[in-house]
Every structure is written in structure tokens, then in C-alpha cells.
Symmetry: C3
Subunit: 247 residues, 3 copies
């Protein structure tokens, strides 16, 4: 059983945060929240999303799992303005999801969850450095790095108390640095890891430019990015595996 009503804006924020990594996913319809966990085909980037029942206008579910085409679901959500309501009702027998937006009814065929890549476990890492920045700073760093390279180093300098980004190209380099004053928060610890820019560019698309992003970093370890959606009623965590430093 699944019946829910949610604003198009909240729905789109949730879907967008997952669709930057995968085209289809399983959605777990728990009693008090909706959750999605997914990993990209190369096993490099993961996302873990939870959207509390409180983020919905109304929400009823009993623990089922559905498989959806995310691109399609996003297209449907775009039929509504951000503050218009989207109504869901699952037909258990036909395995179709009925979606209503003011007079418009869309019947979406679901995907067999067993045919979708298995959900990953996001490991509990004890990462030494934590940085809180505005989304727009990540956006600037990613765009600048993209001008010179296809990978990017994220690091924290404990002595200088700065969070930095490095990208080294064949001829040109980019270095971006934020100190305590520029950062929302910094809990310094020795950290530097190299990442594929392709993945970070995709994740960056789903980061709110004016929202707070918490970055957990280690020494040649995965990075974790945490953000809130739906005015704090939803949580998204990205995890990205490091590339081996070749120098």
C-alpha cells in the first residue's frame, strides 16, 4: 500500500539528487519515510536518500519496494509547478503507479525491483576532517577544476586551517582555498584525496547553491557529502570513491 501527496518542488529535489547517478532505482516505502539507495554502474559513486513522511502533505505506506524509471518520473514531476501537488497511489495488482497533477493522471508502469542493481551499503567511515561550505563554493571549485583537468583533489591543511581544491592540467593549474572565515564550519584533520571530476560534476548539479554542504574527508579515502532537502525533512548523502594518486 502506498498513497501520498507531495509538492512538486520537494519531489523534484529528491529525484534529482538520485538521478545524477542512476537512471532507475528502487524506492523503499517505509511506514515513516521513503528511502532510496543507489550506486552507479562503475561502483564509484553512491547516494543514500531519506525523505520523512513529514515532507509530504499526506503519506501512507507499509514497507513495500517499487522500481522506477527516474528520468520518466522526473519528466512527470516537471509537468507541475514547484508548489503544485503531486498525488501518488500504487495499484498493487497491476504494479502501476497512478500519479495525479490537477486533472492530469499519469499511469506509470513500474520496474521489477529484482531487475535493478542491488542497493549498496554506505560504509560508516571515521573520516578525520569535516568541512561545512555553501553549495556555491563547491560549484565554483568544480567548474574551475573542469577547465584544466578531469580529476580534482580535495584536502584540508591542518596548520593553515584551510579547505582546498587542487586540479593539475597538462599546462594550467587551478587552486582554490577557503579559510575558517570563508567556511561555515571546519573540524580540521589531515586529509587529501583525489577524485574523478566527472562524478563530482554530476553530484554538483544536485547541490543547492545556497544550501549548506557538509564534506567529510580523509587521506586517500572516500569523500562524503551531506545535504538537506525539503526544509530539513529529507537527507541526502553522497559517497565517492577516491582515485589512486599517480604521482
Amino acid at each position: 500500500m502506498f498513497k501520498a501527496i507531495v509538492s512538486s518542488g520537494t519531489l523534484r529535489a529528491a529525484l534529482d539528487s538520485v538521478s545524477v547517478l542512476v537512471d532507475e532505482c528502487k524506492i523503499r516505502l517505509e511506514e515513516d519515510e521513503l528511502t532510496i539507495r543507489a550506486v552507479d554502474p562503475a561502483n564509484v559513486g553512491m547516494v543514500d536518500l531519506s525523505l520523512s513522511a513529514a515532507a509530504f502533505e499526506s503519506y501512507e505506506a507499509d514497507g513495500g519496494v517499487i522500481g522506477v524509471n527516474l528520468t520518466r518520473l522526473e519528466d512527470i514531476a516537471k509537468m507541475a509547478d514547484a508548489d503544485q501537488l503531486v498525488q501518488f497511489e500504487l495499484d498493487e495488482e497491476t504494479r502501476k503507479l497512478h500519479i495525479q497533477i490537477e486533472g492530469l493522471e499519469y499511469t506509470l508502469a513500474l520496474i521489477d525491483p529484482d531487475s535493478i542493481r542491488q542497493e549498496p551499503d554506505l560504509p560508516d567511515l571515521d573520516l578525520p576532517a569535516t568541512v561545512v561550505v555553501e553549495g556555491r563554493d563547491i560549484d565554483r571549485a568544480v567548474k574551475a577544476a573542469d577547465m584544466v583537468s578531469d580529476h580534482i583533489a580535495l584536502g584540508v591543511d591542518v596548520d593553515e586551517e584551510v579547505f582546498y581544491v587542487d586540479a593539475e592540467g597538462d599546462t594550467d593549474d587551478v587552486h582554490f582555498e577557503l579559510d575558517r572565515e570563508d567556511l561555515i564550519d571546519l573540524s580540521a584533520g589531515e586529509a587529501r584525496s583525489l577524485f574523478s571530476l566527472d562524478y563530482l560534476k554530476e553530484m554538483n548539479k544536485a547541490l543547492p547553491k545556497d544550501g549548506e554542504i557538509t564534506i567529510e574527508l580523509g587521506q586517500e579515502f572516500p569523500v562524503k557529502l551531506h545535504l538537506e532537502i525539503a526544509e530539513g525533512q529529507g537527507q541526502v548523502t553522497y559517497m565517492l570513491a577516491p582515485r589512486i594518486q599517480s604521482d
Copy 2:
């Protein structure tokens, strides 16, 4: 003889409503109005436009017929802002149309009207259902249908007193429904016909989103769409032939 002055906005609304179906057309320069009738190469969609002399700042004509390249004429009209005036003067001898927009003079070579597809007759059909809707509702229905199918059924349910749109895809379906309250007007009669979405998508481009569209419908019959342009000084009628229902 043809001499006229018209606002770029009015000119563009008139040209756009025809250019969604054909690239070139005959324009009849009657004494009291300008008229265009055209049918697409496949004989599926027709348009009938009349623009009263009152829609012009000034208008003089004596019944001639000219052939024009619509795309070119639209490009010229776009050189002016919506409220700027466009001045026409036909040179009968050279068969060129002189078009002036504030210091800019464009000399347009006309097309021999005999080389243009013959103008269609729009049959006087006695269609049982008439629906008046806002352009934005047609826009929504067409865009939603386009997500799942390449054809679309338009119908009226006499008992429920609703106008509806159905599109059936291979896996997903779309159903859109407007009742008396959502509609500007409804004169119910049993009606349901299937149409090619390609044509309706093109016609939709020329429908004002905030304007009234009158839809005449029948049972496996052509649909007619009526709209006004130029603040009621111009009338456009589209007619679209039905597709044979294959079920």
C-alpha cells in the same frame, strides 16, 4: 494594389498560426480583410485565417493574391519589436513586396501563386460537441500525451459532462479530464476521435496560452479549433483529420 501598416505583434501572430502547417502560402488581399487558407502536404491539417482591415493601422487592397515564403516573412517581422509598425507596399510590376520597419527596407521576391498548393475548402461540419478551454490546458494535455504516445484521443463524456484527453503508450498511459468547472464552456454531445500528436503539437505552438480556444468534436470525425488573434480582429480555424482507431 496593396498598401498596409500593421504592428509586428499582430503580423507575427497571423503568420505563426499558418507557418505551423506550411512553409509557403497564398495570401488573398481582399478589400476589407486579408485571408489565408492552407493545407499541409499530407492533407491532414488545414488552417483558415482572416485578418480584418481593422486589425491594421491602415489597409488598402483590391482583391489580389500573392504567394509568400512564410519562414522568410516571419524572419523579417522578427526584426521589429512587438509594438513597432511594419509597412507593406506591393509593386505589381516587379511582383516584389516592399517591407519597411523604421528605416529598414526589405524587398521580398514573391512566389507565383500558381506554384503553391491549392487552397483547401474547410468543410462545414455539424459536430455534436463544443468545448471552450484555455490554451494552457491544451498545452498541458499535448505535452503529457507526448510523453507516452504519438497519438491522442480527444473526447466528451456526456454523462459525466467532462472533456477528456487520452493517450496510450506501450507501458504508460495519460488521462486528462476537465469538468464543467474547469472549462469555460461545454455543449456536450457524444464525441471521441483519435488524432496524430505531431499535428496537434504544431498547432499548439500557435495557440495563445491565456486565450480561449473553441474545440468542436465528433465521433471519429475531424476536430476544429477556433481562436481569435489581434484582439478579436482576426480569426483562425484549424481542422485536423482523425486517425483510424486501430483497436
Copy 3:
């Protein structure tokens, strides 16, 4: 030695005016101004730019010459908002240019100036007609001409005291005329020359629509276009060679 701080807006106006003709150029870092002269590969269009030290927030230079990739430098400048400051510092030893924009540091590899096409001399021509127009009028003329032809005649009619533009296509023609009242200034002299529209279209991109452009014209002679950037602290001159009139 070169150290300078300039607003992104001023930097971009300067770079854009040169990049419409060439992808890389030499920049002369004189004591009291920065200058660029460049000619396109076909030797048809030239640009001469000078940006006074007063256009900068701070400026120190001692006459060096650097070679730069303009496209790359424009991309970097775009990382900043128009009123954000861009900081330059030349590292003479590594021949790299350090560019800073609020915490972001870009290290740009320079190009050996000897590998860049030689700077042209813009001849001192004594052209008989001078016209001062708004950039938007050149924009209109160029766009209209582009609808019918790939070349464009610019001329001054001494008797009528008008500046005119003519473009003749295979079937359609465009004529654009500005009289004393439409022009900011006119110093009439017999002048008419034909130019490649491709070059004028590119130069047009760098002309401020609401700025004054001074046009110097002759009889089958090159045209010169003068404009100011950086609120008068920078000067740009374009010179475009005429095409041979074939009629």
C-alpha cells in the same frame, strides 16, 4: 614585471573585442597601458586595442610582451561576476600568469610570443566620411543584411546626407538608411565600399548595443570602426578590408 587588478567586466570587454578576430594574441604590457594588435589569418580584419592603466584598480608593468590563449583567458574571466576583481601576477621565470579571483587561483601557461602571428600596422587612412551611430543600429543592419546576402555595402550619400547599408541577395534585397536625425553625428563625404558580412558579424558581437560607434568610410576603401570600452579608459579600433565590387 606585471601585476594588476581589474574588474571582470572591464577585462571581458577588452578580451571579447579581440577574440572575435583571433584565438591567441600578444599583449604588450606598457608602463601606462596594455595594448593588443591583431589581424585575422586571412589578413582581412584587424583590431587595435589600448586599455589605460587608469582602467585598472592597480597596474604595474615595465614593457614586457606575453602571448595568451584568448579563449582560455575569457573562460577564466567568466568565473567572476562583472564587478568582481581579477588579480594578475606574472611569474617571469616560469612564464606563467597567476590569476586570482576571490580564493580561486588559476595558473595559466603563456604562449611564446614569437609563435604568434605578427602584429599588423593599422594604416593611417584619410577617409572622407565619418558617421557616429548607436551600436544597436549596426546590429540591426548586419542582421537584416545577413538574411539575404553574405556581403554588405556601407555608404554615405552626400546629397541626401544619409548613411546607408545595402545588401543584395539572389531574390531579396535589404536597404537600411539613417539620416542626420537618426545619427549621432555625420561628416558627409562620398563613400561606398563592399565588405564581407562574416567579418562584420563577428565585430558586431563586440560592439556595445547602447554605445557610440564611429565609422570612417571611403570609396572602395577599408572601413574603420572606433569604440570606447571601460568608460572611456579603453579604445578599440577595427579595420576591415573591402571586397572588390563585382558589378
